[in-house]
């Protein structure tokens, strides 16, 4: 019984990390039709930012990682991705090339072996079955979701983003600068991946291929949650995080991913377009 309970914070915190990663993916996919495989490397960049700043202070690392990853996303969008809007499969392969380059760059800069970021002392220990570091990660995700929700529903820029997501052409003809909106979306989405990277330093080592371990699962969150859906992403990320950790607990680690995969395929039989769908009459 205790084992079952111990698994809960693990599952929830993995879900929280997946959520931070998937938010960026679901908005760039939903809004621009872009599948960004290099998103995983923004996580890695965030984690290395925390590694470089660990003497300065952990809390400084959060905004710094957001900025570093965000700018990387922005540069990628301006240089390459904007020429590929609406061609998701091509962006997938294009950004995979980018991801290879970034991984090798990390290897050259920081060395191939993993490095460890020392967690701040105030995140050691815990209450009962809840370790502080995992609680902190969950809090980080909750804060981010609240911030994103407020941004989308309470600010003009956020409303413009929703408008572009629902109908790009209509938004453009209504005078919205869609290019600017795309840039902001990319910046925020990539920045959140950077935050996820910082969070990951609390529960494991950092290496050049850190992102590759999470990117596939994060994409599954997008598939299960529905495109560009905040609610869907939250539920799917938590579900996937818990399913992952309990599948590992009850079977063994090697079967867990297979179980998750089968579960997703089963879920798609019930809801082929994910939990929530933007309705449209168009014949795509």
């Amino acid at each position: 019984m205790e084992g079952v309970l111990n698994q809960l914070p693990i599952g929830l915190s993995i879900g929280a990390v997946l959520l931070l990663i998937a938010l960026g993916l679901t908005f760039t996919f939903g809004q621009m039709g872009v599948i960004n495989m290099a998103h995983g490397e923004f996580i890695m960049a965030g984690a290395y930012t925390a590694y470089l700043l660990q003497s300065v202070g952990f809390l400084i690392a959060l905004p710094a990682a957001f900025g570093v990853a965000g700018v990387m996303g922005l540069v990628l969008e301006r240089l390459l991705i904007r020429h590929f809007y609406g061609r998701p499969l091509d962006t997938l392969l294009l950004t995979w090339g980018v991801s290879l380059v970034l991984q090798q760059a990390a290897r050259d800069l920081f060395g191939a072996p993993n490095v460890q970021v020392v967690s701040p002392t105030w995140l050691r220990g815990g209450v009962g079955i809840l370790p502080y570091n995992r609680l902190f990660i969950m809090a980080l995700a909750v804060l981010s979701v609240v911030a994103i929700w407020a941004y989308l529903h309470r600010t003009g820029q956020g409303r413009r983003m929703r408008a572009v997501m629902q109908n790009r052409r209509l938004a453009a003809t209504s005078g919205i600068n869609t290019g600017r909106v795309d840039q902001v979306t990319f910046f925020i989405g990539s920045g959140l991946a950077g935050i996820a990277g910082v969070a990951l330093t609390l529960i494991g080592p950092v290496g050049p291929t850190l992102g590759t371990y999470y990117i596939v699962d994060a994409f599954l969150v997008v598939v299960a949650g529905g495109l560009g859906q905040l609610k869907g992403a939250v539920l799917a990320a938590l579900g996937l995080g818990l399913l992952n950790s309990y599948a590992e607990f009850w079977s063994d680690a090697s079967l867990a991913k297979v179980i998750v995969f089968v579960a997703i395929i089963g879920f798609l039989q019930l809801r082929p377009q994910g939990l929530f769908v933007l309705r449209s009459r168009a014949l795509s």
Partner: protein, 374 residues
């Protein structure tokens, strides 16, 4: 018929068809060019290469041709059918492991395979037992991948899950399979996979003669599958596949079920990958998780994109070119290989989305146009 389907390995295709009254009767040269080029390439690959190349080089080429068989399947699903599959490594692996299991059991001659002894397994797992029979094992090389692809295809395509979603799902499958194979050490050989083979149907697998024979076998299989795939592309089924790629919903209103067509195509490409995996095992001497995960699966797709996804010959060419490039650069400049691969890919996607064959076709057209103008 578009120019792309007509192109063969070396010859760029004819210029685009202009509106002409009635069905054009192609010149004899145009009609014979495809078969002529194919025959020339076949002679080169089947006769000249085995005589001219030293065993090591021939072995490398055999390995790339195995990848080319997988690429052929990717050309069908992705190039013709628009289904980007990022999990062909799964089918490659199923075929490879089926073959590997048979070879291990055959080498062990009634005892346990060596790696099982090392990981403390004391009797042969039930899963392994039927693979001692060569007929069963060889059948499974095709049956397993096709069955998995049919099942996945029916579940996914019937629900109209497509495009990027399908790509992501196939990638997740590849990731899951690797973790499963690594974790089940006693059953699969774990990270090391299945290796140390000695005998291949009565021949010493390491002998030069065997390897040369294997090369010829791989090249012949590739040739036969290429002809089959080409026939498929030119049939009504192929036209239908193209139509589904460009307008799946519209095809439904023509009374066809796109899910069935896509599932069948996906299964065919899975079968090809399975065959490729099975041939790969005696050629290279190993099958392991590192050969079939997310990255190798993507690399195969990269090869197809570089060669040109819309032409079957482009897919084959791309796989071979990428194979050589990888071997050369990771020997000469191991640090730079990932940079190069990434950069190459970015360049191809931005500058030549139709790949090398697309580039060749464009060049050829501009040359002929200039000549016509002069």
């Amino acid at each position: 018929m578009t120019a792309f389907q007509d192109s063969t390995v070396a010859a760029p295709a004819e210029p685009p068809a202009r509106p002409v009254p009635a069905e054009p009767a192609p010149a004899r040269w145009t009609r014979l060019r495809g078969p002529a080029v194919f025959t020339a390439v076949a002679v080169l690959m089947l006769v000249v290469a085995p005589l001219a190349l030293e065993p090591f080089r021939l072995g490398l080429l055999a390995k790339y041709l195995c990848y080319a068989i997988v690429a052929l399947g990717i050309g069908l699903t992705w190039g013709q059918g628009g289904m980007l599959t990022l999990g062909q490594g799964v089918f490659f692996g199923l075929g490879g492991y089926a073959m590997g299991m048979y070879l291990k059991l055959h080498d062990a001659g009634g005892d346990l395979p060596d790696f099982m002894v090392w990981s403390g397994v004391d009797h042969l797992p039930a899963l392994w037992r039927p693979f001692g029979n060569p007929v069963f094992a060889l059948a499974m090389v095709v049956v397993l991948p096709v069955a998995v692809a049919l099942l996945l295809g029916v579940l996914v395509f019937r629900q109209r899950v497509r495009g990027a979603y399908f790509a992501i799902l196939t990638q997740a499958l590849a990731a899951a399979l690797v973790i499963l194979l690594v974790g089940q050490q006693g059953l699969t050989g774990g990270t090391n996979g299945l290796t140390n083979f000695f005998d291949f149907f009565g021949n010493d697998v390491a002998a030069d003669g065997t390897q040369r024979g294997l090369y010829v076998l791989v090249a012949a299989v590739l040739g036969v599958l290429y002809l089959g795939a080409r026939q498929l592309v030119r049939s009504r089924f192929g036209r239908l596949l193209l139509a589904i790629r460009d307008g799946e919903d519209r095809v439904r209103f023509l009374g066809y079920d796109p899910a069935a067509v896509k599932t069948v195509t996906f299964a065919i490409s899975a079968g090809m990958a399975g065959i490729a995996g099975a041939l790969f095992v005696p050629v290279v001497g190993i099958i392991s998780p590192a050969l079939l995960g997310v990255v190798p699966s993507l690399e195969l797709v990269v090869g197809v994109a570089v060669g040109g996804r819309y032409a079957l010959a482009g897919a084959v060419l791309g796989a071979v070119v990428m194979g050589y490039a990888k071997t050369y650069f990771s020997e000469e400049l191991p640090e730079a290989w990932l940079y190069l691969q990434g950069a190459l890919f970015i360049l191809v996607m931005t500058l030549a989305p139709k790949g090398l064959t697309g580039l060749a076709v464009t060049l050829w057209r501009s040359v002929t146009r200039r000549r016509a103008a002069a």
